[in-house]
């Protein structure tokens, strides 16, 4: 497993796209927190600054960047044909996907922790202290842990989707549109929407990080439940992807 992990690490770091994604992740993670902090200082509004506000960029566009990276990391192997070399080198195919999950999931979690550790003190420094609301690393343990788990799970979800659909275009479209459009569309469906809303994965992920339910959604569980639900959903999709690559002709 170590050798497969090492191979995946070389694959990941030898592509420029990975570094572009990493830069974007940092930019969005810190940028949104900073922007929120400046917004709070605007006397025209009555905002307060919390740990959740400081880390909005991580669970928003930062998360999307991680998911796109995950989806591309597996689908580009199908597109270029290197997946067949991967399976020649590692005939126990699940190891290939597991190594990708471990590597990229670990990076996602680490990235989230690092970014939160920078974004929160940064926001605390920029935002007017009068408008702080439990802002600071001292109270951020739960938020940061939830962010780390969500980022890791989101990467697994993206890898699972990529392994299932194989096409880069489709996989990227799904992971980009899912948070932006798919979930809100489902939630707004007439009649069924309100019943489905509490079971939408990313909505649950956001509940898990912020502890706040999105508008008009009656969740059946609290913060920990939302986090667990999203984690389980991601793992199930990831395992479906593993089954697919084990069963299919490469």
């Amino acid at each position: 497993m170590i050798s497969t992990l090492r191979a995946e690490q070389i694959k990941l770091t030898s592509l420029r796209g990975t570094w572009v994604a990493a830069a974007l992740f940092v930019f969005f993670s810190l940028g949104f927190g900073l922007a929120n902090a400046y917004l709070v200082n605007d006397p025209a509004h009555d905002f307060t600054m919390s740990n959740a506000g400081a880390t909005e960029g991580i669970r928003g566009l930062g998360l999307t960047v991680l998911m796109v990276l995950g989806a591309v990391f597996i689908t580009q192997e199908h597109r270029s044909g290197t997946i067949r070399l991967s399976f020649q080198a590692t005939p126990e195919r699940w190891r290939v996907l597991a190594a990708k999950g471990l590597l990229l999931g670990g990076m996602g979690a680490t990235g989230a922790i690092l970014m939160a550790a920078v974004a929160i003190p940064l926001a605390a420094r920029v935002a007017d202290p009068e408008r702080h609301k439990n802002l600071g690393l001292g109270t951020a343990g739960g938020t940061i842990a939830a962010l780390a788990i969500t980022c890791a799970a989101a990467v697994l979800l993206a890898l699972g989707i990529g392994a299932l659909v194989r096409s880069t275009a489709v996989a990227v479209a799904v992971v980009v549109l899912w948070p932006a459009i798919l979930e809100s569309t489902v939630a707004h469906l007439p009649r069924v929407g309100e019943h489905l809303a509490p079971f939408l994965p990313l909505g649950n992920a956001m509940l898990g990080i912020t502890g706040k339910a999105s508008k008009n959604v009656d969740y059946l569980w609290g913060q920990l439940g939302g986090l667990t639900y999203f984690g389980c959903f991601a793992v199930v999709v990831f395992l479906a992807g593993v089954c697919a690559i084990e069963r299919r002709d490469a």
């Binding site: 050798s3 191979a7 070389i10 580009q76 044909g81 290197t82 067949r84 399976f87 020649q88 080198a89």
Partner: protein
């Protein structure tokens, strides 16, 4: 030793590889011949565990590919040289393959040197020419210093110099006692490189014999021909005709094209007739002819075999047969 045992692969209702059995022995270059679409690549993919056989199995030294530990050290394969990420450097491409099978990093530079890509190792794989990409693919196959090599049309995209080069490499690897299994749809190419031939068409085995046996067999076939020059062509011609040959005069009567007799038999007849022979030349085209005829026969047999029972299969064979005829 690679053993193919009753290997069958269906894609839906189409049988691409049909109850195929043969062995690939070490120390020889074994040519895997068949027209395009005969099932060569699918067979190779099944050997490597990339495609799952519908039935039957492929074994490498008695073990399925899937069950080989560190498989790159046992089997090296070049199925499609374009299986590289265009944005990754040639060296990085080999580096991840090496890491996946615990091969030392130094081995990457060794194989790059071996295939002559050291200078372009840092270049993105996408910027390499087709011939260089093919060399990179061969480097990947040689990475684990494997006992068995599977090469699918390795001379694809190589210039004449490159073709000679890869032929030499294959022969050297076989001389080292390795198993070299190389596919091609060009018989003439294989006749120069291979020691043994496995011929398939429409997924079925047509011939499994040494190159010499194939040449000898095709020489006595009606379409096989031998070019003969002699001091007194009239005397030799008579002797050959009475031995059952059909003759055709070439080069304003300076040479004969003989059909229906092998080169060996022509030599015998000439010796008995006391004729001074200047040239006996097995014409290469007859090999192609024999190969085509064999594959065509097989395809027609298959069409007849399946007519009425499986309409789609018949269509497929018919299309393949016409392809053979055109070529």
């Amino acid at each position: 030793m690679i053993q193919i045992q009753s290997l069958t692969k269906d894609f839906g209702s189409r049988t691409v590889v049909d109850n195929l059995s043969f062995e690939v022995r070490p120390g020889l270059v074994t040519g895997f011949l068949g027209p395009n679409g005969a099932g060569k690549s699918t067979t190779m993919r099944m050997i490597l565990g990339l495609d799952r056989p519908t039935s039957g199995q492929a074994l490498i030294d008695g073990v399925r590919y899937r069950d080989l530990p560190r498989p790159l050290t046992r089997v090296g394969a070049l199925l499609d040289a374009r299986w590289v990420h265009g944005q990754r450097s040639a060296r990085a491409h080999l580096a991840w393959l090496a890491a996946s099978n615990d091969l030392p990093r130094a081995r990457v530079d060794e194989v790059l040197e071996m295939v002559g890509l050291t200078e372009v190792a840092a270049q993105k794989a996408g910027s390499l020419s087709l011939g260089m990409t093919q060399r990179l693919g061969l480097a990947a196959a040689l990475l684990g210093d494997p006992q068995h090599l599977l090469l699918d049309e390795p001379d694809n995209g190589l210039d004449p110099e490159g073709i000679v080069w890869i032929r030499r490499i294959m022969k050297r690897l076989a001389a080292q006692g390795r198993t070299v299994f190389v596919s091609s749809h060009l018989l003439a190419e294989m006749a120069l490189t291979a020691d043994h031939l496995v011929v398939i068409a429409a997924g079925r085995l047509i011939a499994d014999l040494s190159v010499q046996a194939f040449i000898a067999e095709s020489a006595i076939s009606p379409t096989g021909s031998v070019r003969v020059r002699a001091r007194d062509l009239g005397v030799l011609g008579e002797a050959l005709r009475s031995a059952g040959a059909s003759l055709e005069r070439l080069d304003d009567g300076l040479a004969l094209r003989v059909r229906g007799l092998s080169a060996e038999r022509i030599g015998e007849v000439a010796a008995r007739a006391g004729s001074e022979v200047h040239e006996i030349y097995q014409e290469q085209g007859s090999l192609e002819d024999a190969f085509m005829r064999r594959t065509e026969d097989a395809l027609q047999y298959r069409s007849a075999d399946e007519s009425g029972t499986d309409a789609s299969g018949t269509d497929e064979s018919g299309a393949d047969a016409s392809k053979v005829a055109v070529r």
